[in-house]
Protein backbone atom coordinates (compact mmCIF):
# COMPACT_ATOMS: atom_id res chain seq x y z
CA UNK A 1 0.00 0.00 0.00
CA UNK A 2 1.38 3.36 -1.05
CA UNK A 3 2.13 5.83 1.72
CA UNK A 4 0.16 9.08 1.29
CA UNK A 5 2.36 12.18 1.24
CA UNK A 6 0.68 15.44 2.21
CA UNK A 7 2.06 18.90 1.55
CA UNK A 8 1.72 21.10 4.61
CA UNK A 9 3.25 24.50 3.95
CA UNK A 10 6.99 24.11 3.55
CA UNK A 11 6.85 20.53 4.81
CA UNK A 12 5.91 17.13 3.50
CA UNK A 13 4.17 14.69 5.82
CA UNK A 14 4.25 10.98 5.03
CA UNK A 15 1.97 8.96 7.29
CA UNK A 16 2.63 5.26 7.10
CA UNK A 17 -0.78 3.52 7.19
CA UNK A 18 0.15 -0.16 7.43
CA UNK A 19 3.05 -2.59 7.51
CA UNK A 20 5.40 -1.92 4.62
CA UNK A 21 7.23 -4.46 2.51
CA UNK A 22 10.79 -3.65 1.47
CA UNK A 23 9.75 -2.45 -1.98
CA UNK A 24 7.21 -0.08 -0.45
CA UNK A 25 9.84 1.37 1.89
CA UNK A 26 12.07 2.05 -1.10
CA UNK A 27 9.12 3.56 -2.94
CA UNK A 28 8.46 5.91 -0.01
CA UNK A 29 12.12 6.95 0.10
CA UNK A 30 12.23 7.70 -3.61
CA UNK A 31 8.89 9.52 -3.60
CA UNK A 32 9.98 11.82 -0.76
CA UNK A 33 13.37 12.53 -2.28
CA UNK A 34 11.58 13.45 -5.51
CA UNK A 35 8.78 15.52 -3.93
CA UNK A 36 11.16 17.58 -1.83
CA UNK A 37 12.35 19.07 -5.13
CA UNK A 38 8.96 19.24 -6.76
CA UNK A 39 7.39 21.17 -3.87
CA UNK A 40 10.61 22.90 -2.79
CA UNK A 41 9.98 21.57 0.71
CA UNK A 42 12.25 22.43 3.60
CA UNK A 43 11.33 19.57 5.85
CA UNK A 44 9.89 16.06 5.82
CA UNK A 45 8.03 14.22 8.56
CA UNK A 46 7.74 10.44 8.36
CA UNK A 47 5.12 9.18 10.80
CA UNK A 48 5.73 5.53 11.68
CA UNK A 49 3.26 5.34 14.59
CA UNK A 50 1.45 2.34 13.09
CA UNK A 51 4.59 0.29 12.49
CA UNK A 52 4.95 -2.54 15.00
CA UNK A 53 8.16 -3.72 13.39
CA UNK A 54 11.12 -1.61 12.34
CA UNK A 55 13.70 -4.17 11.31
CA UNK A 56 17.19 -3.85 9.84
CA UNK A 57 15.95 -3.06 6.35
CA UNK A 58 13.42 -0.48 7.51
CA UNK A 59 16.03 1.19 9.70
CA UNK A 60 18.53 1.38 6.90
CA UNK A 61 15.95 2.72 4.47
CA UNK A 62 14.79 5.40 6.93
CA UNK A 63 18.40 6.41 7.51
CA UNK A 64 19.10 6.52 3.77
CA UNK A 65 15.91 8.51 3.23
CA UNK A 66 16.91 11.14 5.80
CA UNK A 67 20.44 11.43 4.45
CA UNK A 68 19.27 11.68 0.84
CA UNK A 69 16.77 14.38 1.77
CA UNK A 70 19.48 16.29 3.61
CA UNK A 71 21.59 16.13 0.47
CA UNK A 72 18.62 17.68 -1.31
CA UNK A 73 18.71 20.54 1.21
CA UNK A 74 15.81 19.62 3.50
CA UNK A 75 15.50 18.16 6.99
CA UNK A 76 13.78 14.92 7.98
CA UNK A 77 12.25 13.85 11.25
CA UNK A 78 10.94 10.37 12.02
CA UNK A 79 8.03 10.47 14.45
CA UNK A 80 5.99 7.93 16.37
CA UNK A 81 8.44 5.10 17.07
CA UNK A 82 6.57 3.00 19.63
CA UNK A 83 8.22 1.92 22.91
CA UNK A 84 8.34 -1.79 22.03
CA UNK A 85 9.67 -0.96 18.57
CA UNK A 86 12.41 1.14 20.16
CA UNK A 87 13.20 -1.74 22.50
CA UNK A 88 13.43 -4.25 19.66
CA UNK A 89 15.63 -1.90 17.62
CA UNK A 90 18.04 -1.45 20.51
CA UNK A 91 18.17 -5.22 21.12
CA UNK A 92 19.01 -5.74 17.46
CA UNK A 93 21.66 -3.03 17.56
CA UNK A 94 19.79 -0.84 15.06
CA UNK A 95 20.30 2.91 15.26
CA UNK A 96 19.08 5.98 13.45
CA UNK A 97 22.28 7.91 13.97
CA UNK A 98 22.24 11.33 12.42
CA UNK A 99 18.50 11.18 11.86
CA UNK A 100 16.07 13.46 13.67
CA UNK A 101 13.37 11.76 15.71
CA UNK A 102 10.44 13.13 17.69
CA UNK A 103 7.66 11.73 19.83
CA UNK A 104 4.75 12.56 17.56
CA UNK A 105 3.57 14.77 14.72
CA UNK A 106 3.34 17.86 16.92
CA UNK A 107 6.86 17.45 18.23
CA UNK A 108 8.03 16.65 14.73
CA UNK A 109 6.65 19.96 13.44
CA UNK A 110 8.34 21.80 16.31
CA UNK A 111 11.60 20.01 15.48
CA UNK A 112 11.40 21.08 11.84
CA UNK A 113 10.42 24.65 12.72
CA UNK A 114 13.51 24.90 14.85
CA UNK A 115 15.76 23.22 12.26
CA UNK A 116 14.55 25.20 9.29
CA UNK A 117 13.80 28.46 11.10
CA UNK A 118 10.61 28.82 9.16
CA UNK A 119 7.32 30.15 10.42
CA UNK A 120 4.31 27.93 9.97
Amino acid sequence: MEVPILKQGAYLIASVQSALADAEMIQLRDALVDKVGKFRSRGVIVDVTVLDVVDSFATRTLRDLAHMIRLRGAETVIVGIQPEVAFAMVQLGLTLEGVGTALDLEEGLAFLNQKTQSVE
Binding site: A23, D52, V53, S56, G93
Partner: protein, 156 residues
Amino acid sequence: MTNHRESAPRRESLHGVWRPGPVVRAEDIVPIESEADIVTARQRGRTLGAEVGFRAGELALIATAISELARNIVLYAGRGEILLTKISEGGRIGLLIAASDQGPGISDLTQAMRDGFSTSGGLGLGLPGVKRLMDEFGVVSSPGRGTTVTAKKWKR
Protein backbone atom coordinates in the same frame (compact mmCIF):
# COMPACT_ATOMS: atom_id res chain seq x y z
CA MET B 1 9.98 -30.74 8.26
CA THR B 2 12.83 -30.92 5.82
CA ASN B 3 14.90 -34.00 5.21
CA HIS B 4 18.27 -32.40 5.30
CA ARG B 5 17.89 -31.58 8.97
CA GLU B 6 17.57 -35.24 9.80
CA SER B 7 20.18 -36.55 7.40
CA ALA B 8 22.89 -33.89 7.61
CA PRO B 9 26.00 -35.86 8.50
CA ARG B 10 27.94 -33.12 10.16
CA ARG B 11 26.57 -30.15 12.05
CA GLU B 12 27.96 -27.34 13.97
CA SER B 13 25.87 -26.41 16.92
CA LEU B 14 25.85 -23.49 19.26
CA HIS B 15 23.62 -22.56 22.14
CA GLY B 16 21.69 -25.80 22.09
CA VAL B 17 19.58 -27.55 19.52
CA TRP B 18 15.84 -27.35 19.52
CA ARG B 19 13.95 -30.55 20.16
CA PRO B 20 10.19 -30.69 19.79
CA GLY B 21 8.29 -30.37 23.05
CA PRO B 22 5.77 -32.98 24.12
CA VAL B 23 2.68 -31.03 23.10
CA VAL B 24 2.29 -29.39 19.73
CA ARG B 25 -0.95 -27.50 19.54
CA ALA B 26 -0.88 -25.60 16.30
CA GLU B 27 1.59 -24.66 13.69
CA ASP B 28 1.95 -22.59 10.62
CA ILE B 29 4.56 -22.95 7.88
CA VAL B 30 5.31 -19.82 5.90
CA PRO B 31 7.35 -20.30 2.72
CA ILE B 32 9.93 -17.55 2.29
CA GLU B 33 10.69 -16.97 -1.36
CA SER B 34 10.87 -13.22 -1.74
CA GLU B 35 11.02 -10.10 0.38
CA ALA B 36 7.22 -9.82 0.25
CA ASP B 37 7.01 -13.05 2.28
CA ILE B 38 8.84 -11.36 5.15
CA VAL B 39 5.77 -9.28 5.97
CA THR B 40 3.53 -12.34 5.68
CA ALA B 41 5.72 -14.34 8.06
CA ARG B 42 5.77 -11.68 10.74
CA GLN B 43 2.03 -11.09 10.49
CA ARG B 44 1.33 -14.81 10.82
CA GLY B 45 3.68 -14.95 13.80
CA ARG B 46 1.84 -12.07 15.37
CA THR B 47 -1.51 -13.83 14.85
CA LEU B 48 -0.28 -17.08 16.37
CA GLY B 49 1.44 -15.18 19.17
CA ALA B 50 -1.83 -13.41 19.96
CA GLU B 51 -3.52 -16.82 20.19
CA VAL B 52 -0.87 -17.89 22.68
CA GLY B 53 -1.76 -14.79 24.68
CA PHE B 54 1.32 -12.59 24.30
CA ARG B 55 0.88 -8.91 25.03
CA ALA B 56 1.30 -6.24 22.36
CA GLY B 57 4.85 -5.44 23.41
CA GLU B 58 5.92 -9.08 23.26
CA LEU B 59 4.18 -9.52 19.92
CA ALA B 60 6.26 -6.68 18.51
CA LEU B 61 9.45 -8.40 19.67
CA ILE B 62 8.34 -11.72 18.18
CA ALA B 63 7.38 -10.06 14.89
CA THR B 64 10.74 -8.30 14.75
CA ALA B 65 12.64 -11.53 15.38
CA ILE B 66 10.67 -13.26 12.61
CA SER B 67 11.35 -10.35 10.29
CA GLU B 68 15.10 -10.61 10.79
CA LEU B 69 15.15 -14.40 10.42
CA ALA B 70 13.03 -14.23 7.26
CA ARG B 71 15.30 -11.52 5.89
CA ASN B 72 18.36 -13.68 6.51
CA ILE B 73 16.73 -16.42 4.44
CA VAL B 74 16.04 -14.03 1.55
CA LEU B 75 19.50 -12.47 1.75
CA TYR B 76 21.65 -15.53 2.20
CA ALA B 77 19.71 -18.53 0.93
CA GLY B 78 17.17 -17.06 -1.47
CA ARG B 79 14.41 -19.31 -0.19
CA GLY B 80 13.41 -21.32 2.81
CA GLU B 81 10.60 -21.47 5.30
CA ILE B 82 9.53 -20.34 8.70
CA LEU B 83 7.72 -22.72 10.96
CA LEU B 84 5.66 -21.13 13.71
CA THR B 85 4.44 -23.42 16.46
CA LYS B 86 2.54 -22.98 19.67
CA ILE B 87 4.46 -24.87 22.32
CA SER B 88 3.77 -25.99 25.85
CA GLU B 89 6.18 -27.43 28.33
CA GLY B 90 5.92 -27.97 32.05
CA GLY B 91 2.80 -25.87 32.44
CA ARG B 92 4.00 -22.91 30.45
CA ILE B 93 3.09 -21.98 26.93
CA GLY B 94 4.93 -20.15 24.23
CA LEU B 95 5.80 -19.78 20.60
CA LEU B 96 8.54 -21.45 18.62
CA ILE B 97 10.01 -19.93 15.50
CA ALA B 98 12.09 -22.22 13.29
CA ALA B 99 13.66 -20.57 10.25
CA SER B 100 15.24 -23.06 7.90
CA ASP B 101 16.85 -22.93 4.52
CA GLN B 102 19.04 -25.09 2.31
CA GLY B 103 21.34 -22.25 1.42
CA PRO B 104 25.11 -21.98 1.70
CA GLY B 105 25.12 -22.28 5.49
CA ILE B 106 27.13 -20.22 7.93
CA SER B 107 30.81 -21.03 7.72
CA ASP B 108 31.72 -19.47 11.05
CA LEU B 109 28.90 -19.68 13.56
CA THR B 110 31.01 -18.25 16.34
CA GLN B 111 31.64 -15.15 14.29
CA ALA B 112 27.97 -14.94 13.23
CA MET B 113 26.96 -14.98 16.90
CA ARG B 114 29.42 -12.28 17.81
CA ASP B 115 27.77 -9.02 18.66
CA GLY B 116 28.09 -6.39 16.01
CA PHE B 117 29.05 -8.85 13.33
CA SER B 118 27.55 -7.81 10.01
CA THR B 119 25.08 -5.46 11.66
CA SER B 120 27.03 -2.27 11.02
CA GLY B 121 25.45 -1.68 7.64
CA GLY B 122 22.03 -2.28 9.09
CA LEU B 123 21.62 -5.43 7.07
CA GLY B 124 22.98 -8.79 7.94
CA LEU B 125 22.65 -11.76 10.20
CA GLY B 126 21.70 -9.95 13.40
CA LEU B 127 21.58 -13.32 15.15
CA PRO B 128 22.79 -12.05 18.53
CA GLY B 129 20.01 -9.45 18.38
CA VAL B 130 17.38 -12.07 17.64
CA LYS B 131 18.73 -14.10 20.54
CA ARG B 132 18.24 -11.10 22.83
CA LEU B 133 14.65 -10.63 21.64
CA MET B 134 13.71 -14.24 22.44
CA ASP B 135 14.00 -16.50 25.51
CA GLU B 136 15.73 -19.47 23.93
CA PHE B 137 17.81 -19.62 20.82
CA GLY B 138 19.63 -22.23 18.78
CA VAL B 139 21.31 -22.37 15.41
CA VAL B 140 22.42 -25.36 13.39
CA SER B 141 24.27 -24.88 10.15
CA SER B 142 26.13 -27.10 7.73
CA PRO B 143 28.22 -25.41 5.06
CA GLY B 144 26.61 -26.15 1.71
CA ARG B 145 23.54 -27.73 3.26
CA GLY B 146 21.69 -24.96 5.00
CA THR B 147 20.86 -23.32 8.25
CA THR B 148 18.13 -23.74 10.81
CA VAL B 149 17.61 -21.11 13.48
CA THR B 150 15.19 -21.88 16.27
CA ALA B 151 13.96 -19.43 18.85
CA LYS B 152 11.37 -19.70 21.59
CA LYS B 153 9.43 -17.11 23.51
CA TRP B 154 7.59 -18.10 26.67
CA LYS B 155 4.50 -16.36 27.90
CA ARG B 156 5.01 -14.77 31.31
